[in-house]
């Protein structure tokens, strides 16, 4: 059994149609798992389901063997699951440091040492610590979003398109950071549009189409799979 897993999840938004159908995803500690697929496939929705932001009709979610299907999103955060949404993933009207402090909201006691760790990981944030996040560049903002999510020292980190809208160089940097985080024994689940690069650093991957698992395998297998190549990796 994997460290964090969603099994046969089916559900959608409110009373609308099912967006994900019997979708299963799992990730172990120290592993990077990518979720790929066309726009509107339900990748973000699957992540929201794992965090409890949408109600499932069926399926279950467990972390470390404990069933958390019935827990609220906040309680799942307490279980060590951190999520960086695709949009609006920072507090734009607050400073960099305040964003990190908010990430540590659930932590008791002093967290200055964790902030220092984040600054070591993302030196640019230390430089801009007192600047409003709304005034940072897109790439810097993604680092703030990642930093905020790391403040609770999560055991599972879910990233929805962490490299959206950043230049190739910054993208490589962000991926480097993500690999560093993985080495601290965190289970990382990410949705990515830059499929090739994502698979390159991923241990495993899933390809989702219309809310269902279509292909899955190790990063290498998916990269070399002709069907995946032709339809999702652009030849």
């Amino acid at each position: 059994m994997a460290f964090f897993e969603g099994v046969k999840m089916t559900g959608g938004y409110g009373t609308g149609p099912d967006i994900i159908n019997s979708c299963s995803i799992n990730v172990n500690r120290g592993e990077i798992v990518s979720i790929l697929g066309p726009n509107g496939a339900g990748k973000s929705t699957a992540m929201k389901a794992l965090l409890g932001l949408i109600n499932l009709k069926s399926g279950s979610i467990a972390i470390n063997g404990k069933d958390i299907s019935k827990l609220s999103p906040q309680d799942r955060v307490r279980e060590g699951i951190s999520f960086v949404p695709q949009t609006k993933n920072v507090f734009a009207g607050m400073s960099v440091e305040e964003n990190l402090e908010m990430g540590a909201y659930l932590r008791e006691g002093d967290y200055q040492n964790i902030i220092d760790e984040i600054y070591e990981l993302f030196p640019i944030l230390k430089e801009k610590r007192n600047q409003l996040v709304g005034e940072l560049s897109g790439g810097q903002r993604q680092q703030v979003a990642l930093g905020r999510a790391l403040m609770i020292k999560p055991s599972v980190l879910m990233l929805d398109e962490p490299t959206a809208g950043v230049s190739p160089i910054v993208m490589d940097e962000l991926f480097d950071h993500i690999i560093k985080v993985k080495r601290t024994n965190v289970a990382i689940l990410m949705v990515e549009q830059n499929a090739k690069q994502a698979l390159n650093i991923s241990d495993r991957g899933y390809v989702l189409v219309t809310g269902e698992n279509r292909y899955s395998g190790t990063g290498k297998e998916l990269l070399n799979d002709p069907r995946v190549r032709s339809s999702f990796l652009g030849g």
């Binding site: 999103p73 955060v77 609006k88 920072v90 734009a92 607050m94 305040e98 908010m102 909201y105 659930l106």
Partner: protein
């Protein structure tokens, strides 16, 4: 000498009154802006909630006076305000629990909540009128003036007197202290920052583990404090008439919008912008020009841009102009 007289004239009739009135508006505007920033609706009950808080202050003041408690030179109301605040916090939480919560839980659109607040306004208004009546009441006791106009003239030998009322000094002093504490709370404490985070990005605040119930509760507590103090200071300085409080909502909302709705520091400054504009535009400058111009050029009219009867037109015009040209307010800065 004439020049000094002219300055004293402006201080006496514009600067001191505007600073006082601005402080009173600022407290109301911060109240509006915090409710808007966190609960995301325009609270039309603001004015009447402030009237309610003032009424409670007055009732407690009367009680203290009846049993012979007083603060000497200071108004007894100052002693009553802390008790009134406790009562008002209870009132705010009560209204939230039985009225606003339902719509919040159902994720009603902001317009619906604003309509609901109009209902709360009518009920609050009615309760105030049933309990204390609609008439004008003065509840200021203690020493009325810090400097009297006559004394000032004698002291300085100028023609113009400068009168400073203790209610004016109290208003400015208490406002500055209260607002400093509030900004310290919002910018430096963990709870305050979590409120700003909730206002900034509600979903991400929830994902960070911030408890929305706590944020809402503290918002109403702050609202209770601001409503009581803002209302009582206005009543001490002028007089307490419930209808005036309802009318004051126009300049208060104008101040909140000038400052950029949702931005407490903007609302604070906005209060002064509105107060100074209102008084600048409705003041009759005839005497001022008589001091500074040679006799031959003395004005024959009052030199008043707008009669005081139309003072609300000033807030209204500012409101319209700001909404048209700077809908996010005229100040840059952190949104709550």
């Amino acid at each position: 000498m004439d020049f000094l007289n002219a300055i004293i004239l402006l201080l006496n009739y514009i600067f001191v009154p505007a600073l006082t009135y601005g402080s009173q508006l600022a407290l109301g505007a911060i109240f509006v802006t915090i409710i808007y920033g966190i609960l995301r609706f325009a609270n039309f009950a603001t004015g009447d909630m402030m009237a309610f808080g003032t009424m409670v202050t007055i009732l407690i003041t009367w009680y203290f006076q009846s049993i012979g408690i007083s603060l000497g030179v200071l108004p007894t109301a100052l002693l009553a305000i802390p008790f009134a605040i406790f009562f008002m916090i209870g009132y705010m939480l009560f209204v939230d629990k039985f009225v606003f919560r339902y719509y919040r839980v159902n994720k009603s659109p902001p317009v619906q909540l604003a309509m609901v607040s109009i209902g709360v306004m009518f009920v609050t208004q009615a309760v105030v009128r049933i309990i204390i009546g609609p008439s004008d009441r003065r509840f200021f006791d203690g020493e009325k003036f810090i400097i009297k106009a006559g004394e000032f003239k004698e002291m300085t030998g100028l023609n113009e007197g400068l009168a400073i009322k203790s209610s004016q000094v109290l208003t400015i002093f208490i406002t500055l202290i209260l607002v400093s504490i509030l900004f310290w709370f919002l910018n430096k404490t963990k709870t305050g920052k979590s409120m700003r985070a909730y206002s900034d990005n509600e979903d991400l605040a929830l994902l960070s583990g911030i408890d929305p119930k706590r944020v809402v509760m503290i918002t109403w507590i702050i609202a209770g404090i601001l409503a009581t103090i803002g209302g009582a200071l206005y009543g001490l300085d002028k007089s307490f008439k419930p209808f005036t409080y309802f009318n004051n909502m126009l300049p208060i909302f104008a101040a909140a919008i000038v400052g950029g709705i949702g931005n407490p520091f903007g609302a604070f400054l906005g209060g002064y912008v509105i107060a100074f504009s209102e008084i600048f535009i409705t003041y009759a400058y005839k005497k001022f020009f008589m001091y500074i111009l040679p006799e031959s050029m003395e004005p024959e009219t009052l030199v008043q841009l707008l009669s005081t009867d139309y003072k609300f037109a000033v807030s209204f015009s500012i409101l319209v102009i700001v909404l048209l040209y700077r809908p996010n307010g005229i100040f840059k800065g952190k949104v709550l």
